[in-house]
């Protein structure tokens, strides 16, 4: 019995040391902004994440996150068609947004600050994303300014029309974490 238990322990720790894989069907990536005071919610349907994380050594962890910008949806066809255009996500030339971590800092039990570089439409910004990690699910939100990334350029730059502040929310479920 003891032997079996220790064998199990070895097996699970071996599994934990491997990179965790994202479970897309259990994960969500959404965002909220205001359009003339009206809260509008959107989501991305396609995204990938590579996570290398050990709760015993969080500082050594790494995460790389890629979002397919063409998978964006506000739940309204006319808005979605607009978002693909050059002044918004310009999905023909900028198919992906990426986030690559540069450091993970524990801030409490199951809580971490993930610092890294967010790149959208060729513009990169350093951001710190606070996350909570529980039963294989990393959740959190981060506030960004859309104009830092020229999202909604030209005639759409007016922030009284579409607010500059965008809150990005995520829930990422990992297997093998």
């Amino acid at each position: 019995m003891k032997r079996l238990l220790s064998a199990l322990l070895v097996a699970t720790s071996a599994l934990a040391a491997q990179a965790a894989t994202l479970q897309p069907e259990k994960s969500e990536l959404s965002f909220t902004f205001k359009q003339m005071g009206v809260p509008v919610d959107g989501k991305f349907k396609k995204f990938e994440a590579q996570l290398d994380f050990d709760a015993k050594k969080p500082e050594a962890g790494k995460i790389a996150f890629t979002v397919d910008l063409g998978s964006v949806s506000l739940g309204d066809a006319s808005f979605d068609a607009e978002l693909a255009k050059a002044s918004w996500f310009d999905t023909k030339r900028n198919g992906k947004a990426t986030f690559v971590s540069s450091g993970i800092k524990p801030t409490g039990p199951g809580k971490y600050d993930v610092a890294g570089k967010l790149t959208i439409k060729g513009a990169a910004r350093d951001v710190v994303v606070p996350i909570t990690l529980a039963s294989g699910v990393a959740a959190g939100s981060v506030a960004i300014k859309r104009l830092d990334f020229k999202i909604g350029d030209g005639e759409w730059a007016d922030t009284s029309m579409v607010a500059n502040d965008v809150t990005v929310k995520f829930k990422l479920a990992f297997a093998g974490l």
Binding site: Q35, M36, G37, V38, P39, V40, D41, L74, G75, D76, S78, F79, A81, E82, E155, W156, D158, M161
Partner: protein, 178 residues
Amino acid sequence: MSPATRYTPIAIALHWLLALAIVGAFCVGLYMTSLPFSPTRLKLYNWHKWAGVTILTLSALRLLWRLTHRPPADIPMPAWQLRAAHVTHQLLYVLFFAVPLSGWAYSSAAGFPIVWFGVLPLPDFVGKDKELAETLKLVHHFAAYGLGLLVVGHVAAALKHQFVDRDGLLARMGLGRA
């Protein structure tokens, strides 16, 4: 000027204010739906919604006033005309509510709650529902066109009374002497 021949000043003020607001919202509605996706289009949609909720509120006030204040006596005219006038007025009142309420519900169903003047978030009576939104859009359009037709009939009848029958009907609504 005898009080029995005119509406009360409040009723007259509400009539003209709402006439202006309804014609304005109708024209903006026609124009905005013809625009391509643009900041102007979104801006006009929001203004149209704000105007609609304002019209709804003023209409509630107006109905309350109408129910608590006696309107002036009917001007002598054939019975069928009186009947047509009264039915038109009743239908107008129904649509003063039906048009903005269907628009409000349509906006909610489409997933865009109304924030009155960009400040006051209004409740959603219906949840986000694409099919319902399509239905409510049609309801809103038909109700608005119905209201437009009634307004045309109402104005035409009033002008006929004023300039063909010369019975001084417009004085009841504050235009000219009673």
